[in-house]
């Protein structure tokens, strides 16, 4: 659905070859594309508008360096601005107070209960805190039970009063209980509520008044659309919350709501939820979010990471090998190792422009390469250099040696052949590979 912004920009600038800097005329089309990309990512309409205005001002008159295409320069400017807006690096949560009270608020289905448990788990395992979870969602059927089950999973005590319909009184009792039992942090899970539900909003602000929490976190679904601006504002007016939690980021949403919220309430995003497991909680990285919203493939980080890891001489050798069709399993292995050094594989691959979509449906685990490595290690050096000699017998031996199946070996050989073909194709002439390389060298800082 979304093609890479860089490509769009480059196309928009194609007509301008030879122009040395960005002018009002040649920037208009690009700005339209940026605005569209932001809207497609659910950034609020007004913010998308002001944002493109800012970009325009920053871009006008900038000289285009020879090494960088105007499109790339635009991406860089947009990226810088976005990162700026997303805020500086992570803001810690406030755990002062004995106990420290953390109040969780948000709409229905945003993921409050799951997040509460994840946060408890995080504080317990990463910060060594003794945590008490408190079930104050007295409305949704089985909400209390849900928190209890999660509490059991992570071995954190859950305070609840099954028959009480009074969140304030439950919470107060929980705090007393925490004091008596030496809990250092109390996390209060609350019911989901609509910002327009006056009664429920009164309830949550009463909770705030009664508890005087160190930290109020507003939990919001990363997939939220244009309404994010209203919701974030409405909750902020009532609660003046301290931070935002962005959930369900493991989906494929671009998460423009994050930008909207940052821009309208100016509160830091403190955590992100990235899965259903209790460990699937992450600190917020503004840079990454900026990249994601642009959906441009994280070119900037890729360039940086590649520069760190990529040995240019090696690269040239590799290209020659590819050109001569001498690319063997050893080289393949070396490539894998390089990629692994760079970090999370899926993240990495999705950084390559155009690849995000291709791998979206794949479940790439971090140890995705384990099987592949085992197979390659089970090949003889000769086989690695000359993959064509891999006949049935050899494959069978390799499968046994690597503890995999013959199908897996076949699959890898097939994939390898495909890769080889693709690389050969790319290395020739005006291929994409060359563009990527150029992009990389062009964006050195």
């Amino acid at each position: 659905m979304f093609e890479s912004l860089t490509e769009k920009f480059d196309r928009a600038f194609k007509l301008l070859k030879g122009q040395g800097h960005i002018t009002e005329i040649n920037v208009a089309e690009t700005l339209k594309d940026i605005r569209r990309a932001l809207l497609d990512a659910d950034v609020s309409y007004k913010i998308a508008k002001t944002f493109t205005e800012t970009i325009k001002e920053k871009a006008l008159g900038r000289n285009v360096l020879t090494a960088v295409s105007p499109g790339q320069l635009m991406v860089k400017i947009v990226h810088e601005e976005l990162s700026l807006l997303m805020g500086s690096e992570n803001t810690e949560i406030n755990l002062k107070g004995s106990p420290a009270i953390i109040l969780i608020a948000g709409l229905q289905g945003s993921g409050k209960t799951t997040f509460s448990a994840k946060l408890a788990n995080y504080l317990k395992s990463k910060k060594g805190k003794k945590v008490l979870l408190t079930a104050c969602d007295v409305y949704r059927p089985a909400a209390i039970e849900q928190l209890k089950v999660l509490g059991e999973q992570i071995k954190v005590e859950v305070f609840s009063e099954i028959d009480s319909k009074e969140p304030v009184s439950i919470a107060k009792k929980a705090v007393i209980h925490a004091k008596n039992m030496g809990h250092q942090v109390v996390i209060i899970d609350t019911a989901g509520r609509l910002a327009i539900d006056a009664q429920m909003m009164d309830e949550i602000s009463n909770l705030k008044k009664a508890l005087n929490p160190q930290e109020i976190l507003f939990v919001v679904d990363a997939m939220t659309g244009q309404d994010a601006v209203n919701t974030a504002n409405a909750f902020n007016e009532r609660l003046d919350y301290d931070g935002v939690v962005l959930t369900k980021l493991d989906g494929d949403t671009r998460g423009g709501a994050a930008l909207t919220i940052r821009a309208v309430v100016d509160k830091p995003i403190k955590f992100v939820g990235v899965g259903e497991k209790m460990e699937a909680i992450d600190l917020f990285h503004p840079q990454r979010m900026a990249d994601r919203i642009l959906g441009m493939g994280d070119i900037v980080s890729l360039v940086e990471k590649a520069q760190e890891q990529f040995d240019e001489v090696e690269a040239r050798k590799l290209q020659q090998k590819i050109a001569k069709n001498q690319f063997g399993f050893d080289d393949f292995l070396a490539q894998l190792q390089q990629i692994k050094k760079m970090g999370n594989v899926k993240d990495l691959v999705s950084m390559i422009p155009g690849m995000g979509k291709a791998i979206k449906d794949m479940d790439i685990e971090d140890d995705a390469f384990k099987g592949i490595e085992a197979i390659i290690y089970s090949m003889t050096p000769h086989e690695r250099k000359n993959p064509t000699i891999l006949n049935g017998n050899r494959r069978k031996r390799i499968a046994e040696g690597s503890g995999t199946s013959i199908q897996e070996v076949n699959k890898l050989v097939k994939q390898f052949e495909d890769t080889r073909k693709m690389m050969k194709m790319m290395s020739g002439g005006e291929g994409k590979m060359k563009n990527i390389m150029r992009a990389m060298s062009g964006m050195k800082r």
């Binding site: 709409l107 289905g109 089985a142 609509l194 979206k360």
Partner: protein, 318 residues
């Protein structure tokens, strides 16, 4: 009020009330777009674009609507604000018509296969379980015997949640506890329906993000297993979308459809959001009809989606 024939007064009121947030903002925005304007110029179209985009109609559909209006304005030599409203209403209505988001006018039809099997799918937190409870209630009110299948065996306390709803709606539930194989639960539920002369089977499934391949495959498996008892089952694969979701709703519709042949949509939480627009966008881009809309937290707050009524409600008082 001929248009509202199929709504009793009461339901109609509820729809209006439920959509009041949508309507107010949608109207407000469109009102602002054309206030004090005597003709459609670039400004009006810009403002109209803003009104549509901020209602989550989506950029693509917005552009399509604007284009249609532009060409009609050129042809019809547009005059004033009333005219623009009429044109806009017609265009939105025809978008919904192309999608066939109408047709059904009651929860239970006499020609429904028996048992009629509904499998409910969607991402996490969109309101699947609540929608199921409301559906069970509606079908029961229509004189149908309903059974629920608790095939969300993954999320903590999901089975417990559905059980409570089943009690409230006074319908039986088939469950194998947490952690059970969802396909087995679905199978047992359909089997139970066959044995107990049940009219409607509603199977809950765990929320899953549409980009998780394994979980999406699981849905196909649940479906296959029900096939074994009733070849046509599930007759309805209902994708539940959160009305406050933005452009990702389109991606959800696309992915779930390709994994499980979704043939009906329910849009929930339309009471809290200004974004009824997602209904328009989804209808424009998908051939799957919007069948139900959720407009509140009460067990009665589920409506059959009626295109005419929806558009009327959006534009009322203009």
């Amino acid at each position: 009020m001929g248009l509202f024939d199929i709504f009793s007064k009461n339901k109609e009121e509820k729809l209006k009330e439920g959509l009041s947030k949508t309507r107010e903002t949608f109207l407000g925005k469109i009102g602002k777009a054309i206030i004090g304007k005597s003709s459609v110029d670039a400004d009006v179209l810009d403002n109209l674009e803003e009104a549509l985009v901020t209602s989550d109609v989506g950029v693509e559909t917005t552009l399509r609507i604007i284009e249609r209006i532009e060409s009609r304005v050129a042809k019809d030599k547009y005059v004033g604000a009333d005219e623009l409203n009429r044109i806009l209403k017609e265009e939105i209505s025809s978008l919904l018509l192309e999608n066939k988001s109408a047709g059904i006018n009651q929860f239970a039809n006499s020609d429904m296969p028996k048992p009629y099997v509904i499998m409910v799918v969607g991402v996490n937190g969109v309101g699947k379980t609540t929608t199921i409870a409301k559906l069970a209630n509606k079908f029961t009110q229509a004189g149908k015997k309903v059974v629920l299948g608790a095939a969300d065996t993954f999320r903590a306390a999901a089975v417990g949640q559905l059980k409570i709803w089943a009690e409230r709606a006074n319908v039986p539930i088939v469950e194998l506890g947490m952690g059970a194989d969802p396909a087995s639960v679905a199978y047992d539920t359909v089997e139970y329906a066959n044995k107990n002369n049940i009219d409607v089977v509603i199977v809950d499934t765990a929320g899953r993000l549409h980009n998780k391949t394994n979980l999406m495959n699981e849905l196909s498996k649940i479906k296959r297993v029900m096939n074994k008892i009733i070849p046509e089952a599930p007759h309805e694969i209902l994708l539940v979308l959160d009305g406050s979701t933005g452009q990702n709703a389109f991606e959800q519709a696309k992915q779930f459809t390709s994994a499980t042949e979704v043939n009906a949509l329910a849009i929930t939480k339309l009471d809290g959001t200004a974004k009824g627009g997602v209904v328009i966008g989804i209808s424009d881009q998908f051939k799957i009809p919007v069948k139900y809309i959720g407009v509140g937290e009460g067990i009665d707050d589920l409506q059959l989606f009626d295109r005419e009524a929806f558009v009327e409600t959006l534009f009322e008082r203009l």
